[in-house]
Amino acid sequence: MSTVTLSHLLRSQESSLLEAWLAEQRRSGNVRNLIADSDLKRQSAEFIQLLQQTVAEGDSTDYSSSTISREMRRFLDSITGDRAQLGFSPSETATFIFSFKRPLFEAIRTSTNDVTAQIDEVWNSSLLLDRLGLYVTESHQKAREGIILRQQQEMLELSTPVVKLWDGVLALPIIGTLDSSRTQTIMESLLERIVETGSEIAIIDITGVPTVDTLTAQHLLKTVTAARLMGAECIISGIRPQIAQTIVHLGVELGDVVTKASLADAFKIALQRTGFALAKRSSITAVK
């Protein structure tokens, strides 16, 4: 029975509810003037319609536990994403939902004289709105994580420096994840520098790569092969013990690629191969 009322209420009083809610949102000041009035109006109207659907499709006696439909989730994700982008806090974002309570309860109160029905209705709709509010809070957090992640990736995209360590020796310290678009950039800049400098050896240091899975390994091996075609040998350094063990179990074979625990070890090998030797000054003096 109670469904009929709320679902009906949301439909029959749609426009007055919308007006009252918009007034409430403006008053509670959570909009921060960052969202255009027209957008806010559109979003609020859409929410009322989706809520009406949710209630109509739900259990007729207890719609508080109605499933949150895919459309509703998509809608909430989208408005949350916008707000996260604008720098809203999770509670400011959730206030969008919670601020609907006052106008809704008011409408419920005036819709019937039956106090028990009023209480039931308020309780049920409150539970439902709370669930939607919680969903928004979680969605907001995920959106923030996504934004941070993108920023990190943009940063990483910028920082793939190929450094010259010595005549004929290049080093490529990789930091972060090796997803495919980034690997492409890294590979290209390494190959360019090999040609430019005529280097014989390139050290790829993966100390800063947290996980080496099959895709990462494949990208590394491709880079090594391409470098070979340009006439340079690669040494992979910075493979930490736990990563070495994991790669072995995974079944990845690095073939004839030279690997070293540290960049320093790799550098030593590189010097030997290019015909240099490092010696302490005291020992040189002694030779003299």
């Binding site: 992640l149 947290p210 996980t211 494949q218 736990q242 995974l250 079944g251």
Partner: protein, 134 residues
């Protein structure tokens, strides 16, 4: 077996795989897995999450901290993709239907303490893996 903590993560785009790895590492540390086991679990999660995205056309993973005799982490990946027609072949080292190394599934089985896969053509795939603290 008791579930101490549980979370569900969506796998819809490449960035989600990074989030899965981060979440799995966090729970592996909280479950007192050693550094090597953490690395194995995170790597396995990365493999299966990528399969879920690339072949399963997206899905989700449930991340559970569990307790039996010991504590551990159990991950359940599900997708509603095309499924795997020949499981034995898919589990073979080096077999890939794409451009991979064909080591994701078979390698993951070697990395984990527990590994289960169920798949039905046209319905989807579920992979469950677990690693226990020592």
């Amino acid at each position: 077996m008791e579930i101490l903590q549980s979370d569900v993560l969506q796998i819809r785009q490449p960035e989600d795989i990074v989030l899965v790895r981060t979440a799995v590492r966090k729970i592996a540390i909280a479950s007192k897995l050693g550094l090597v086991d953490q690395t194995k679990l995170v790597t396995a999660a990365s493999e299966i999450a990528r399969n879920t995205l690339d072949y399963g056309l997206g899905g989700e993973v449930r991340v559970d901290m569990v307790r039996d005799a010991r504590t551990g982490v159990r991950l359940t990946f599900t997708d509603e993709g095309p499924g795997i027609p020949d499981l034995e072949r898919a589990m073979t080292d080096g077999w890939t239907s794409g451009k991979g190394m064909g080591l994701g599934l078979s390698g993951t089985r070697r990395l984990m303490d527990e590994f289960q896969i169920a798949s039905k053509v046209g319905e989807g795939t579920t992979v469950t893996i677990a690693k226990w603290s020592r």
